[in-house]
Amino acid sequence: MPDDYGYINARIKVMRTQLLDGRMLDATLEAQSYQEFLRVLSESVLAADLGDATAQGAGLAELDAALSRNFFHTADKVYRLASGTARDEIGVLLQRWDLVNLKTLARGLASGRGTEGILQSLIPGGTIARSALQAAASSGDVASAAQAITVSGHPLAGAFREGAAAMSASGRLLDLEVALDQGYYRRALAIARGTALRRYLAREIDITNALTARALRGQSVDPSLFVEGGNVIGASDFTRLGAGDTGVGGDLSPILEAPSLEEAEIVARRALDVAAHNAAMGDALGVGVAVDFLRRKEIEIAKLRLIGRGKFYGVPAEQLRREVSVE
């Protein structure tokens, strides 16, 4: 497989043309019922992945599974296009799903859930081999699960081991999760040295820090929740932001000053979209195109989930349109 972005980006640009356009999203929004919504979807490129979602008696669980399948197939397809450095860089984008899966493993094992229960909660995506996840889920405790992931040679295994040790020392699952989050960003920044991905990640880290500070405002903010690597918010700023001082947020002030958490998230999501778009514009021959495409795909699937839920529960189209068009 080629490892140059010329080929990868050409393929991604073709895949980008298959994203649902505004007209198709409008058609799903205008559907009079959930069944009609499914019919509209079955006329789109998503038809191949709909599977059980269109069967008699199928509900939101089947729709969610179908949309997840479509998203992760697409992400995996992009990942498989790449090799060498490009594969590492695109892998960083997919490892955020590994991060969720590792947290799911830890949460399930820490709360004593059975192997089947844990496996069912895993995301069908990311870069960790299914066999490694199965071995980890059946290992019985978090430390053994960390060993199972280490054996697979996954880049986040080190962070998982560190987290397991931190959890074993403090008895708090939160420490493991924070160690995983920190480990992910450390690794991602190390891979993305000097590329558009680095700029995108720095922006994402700043936005994440701003959202964390906004969400925890009024509570004692744990300094370990601060993620290093952003360009705008430093560790001391993070503590001040948590205390309610929004003057240190720079261009992230709209997130920090948003009247509600929902509005803060809408602003943050829009800022991330802009960052992904800028990455594609500024790095047309690099990873930026993949960053932007995966972001667009993720938002497309999120909007379809939202519209599908709205149609299933009979939410008025206007209300759904407002929620969807906040982007």
Binding site: D64, S68, R96, L99, V100, K103, T104, R107, G108, A110, S111, G112, R113, G117, I118, S121, L122, I123, L173, L174, E177, V178, L180, D181, T208, L211, T212, R214, A215, L216, Q219, L225, V227, L261, E262, A264, E265, R269, A302, K303, R305, L306, R309, Y313, E323
Partner: protein, 227 residues
């Protein structure tokens, strides 16, 4: 019942005591029932308020979950639910309301602190988690109020059945017994009185006859003596 009781004065006294006891018991049970009904209606208001609160909190929580699952993926949201223990401990004590044992469930203290890393977790998911903590508290409140309501309702039903049994069966039964014993005793008294009258009449008749006889014998003796 009346057929099995021995119609004696002792039985009459015992039945009268039973009647008094049953009437007093019915009266006490009626008062208990009235008090329980008062308590029941006060609780109904609480239960309705708790239900309304649950409905309101649930609506908000499900709306948050609706958005959270859409934007943050259902898998990530469900993963977070694994971080919570499958069971929740509540403080439960048994208290007595007019002799009815009802549970008093105290809500678990909400620590408010997140048990998962908020990094990379959507604010809608955090909002949904917070909202569902509220749902859990409202649910426990509803469970506590409605269990109390059900227990008191059952006790009202039981007490009403007891009052009805006393008023409709036991008291009339004892009154029948008393009527029966009284009837038998009165009958016996009448019989006794009639018998005594008869005896008295017989004795008087015998006395008269004896007197008449002795009078007649006296006359013949006198005649004989005169002869």
């Amino acid at each position: 019942m009346a057929g099995q009781i021995s119609p004696t004065r002792t039985a009459l006294l015992a039945s009268k005591a039973q009647l008094k006891l049953a009437t007093n018991g019915a009266e006490l049970l009626k008062r208990k029932r009235d008090a329980l009904i008062g308590e029941f209606f006060a609780l109904v208001r609480d239960a309705l308020a708790a239900r309304e609160e649950l409905a309101g909190v649930s609506r908000g929580a499900y709306t948050s979950l609706f958005s959270a699952k859409s934007w943050d993926t259902p898998e990530a949201v469900e993963s977070l639910s694994l971080a919570q223990p499958g069971t929740l401990s509540v403080n439960m004590q048994i208290e007595s309301v007019y002799g009815v044992k009802v549970p008093r469930i105290e809500l678990p203290e909400s620590k408010g602190a997140v048990t998962f890393s908020p990094i990379n977790v959507g604010t809608r998911t955090i909002q949904a988690a917070t909202d569902f903590q509220g749902v859990m508290q409202a649910l426990i409140k509803v469970a506590a109020t409605e269990t109390k309501l059900r227990r008191i309702g059952e006790e009202i039903k039981k007490t009403s059945r007891r009052v009805n049994a006393l008023e409709q069966v036991v008291v009339p039964g004892i009154q029948d017994d008393i009527r029966f014993i009284r009837g038998v005793l009165d009958q016996r008294e009448r019989e006794e009185s009639f018998r005594l009258k008869k005896i008295k009449a017989k004795l008087e008749r015998e006395a008269e006859e004896a007197a008449a006889q002795s009078g007649a014998q006296g006359g013949s003796y006198a005649g004989t003596a005169a002869d």
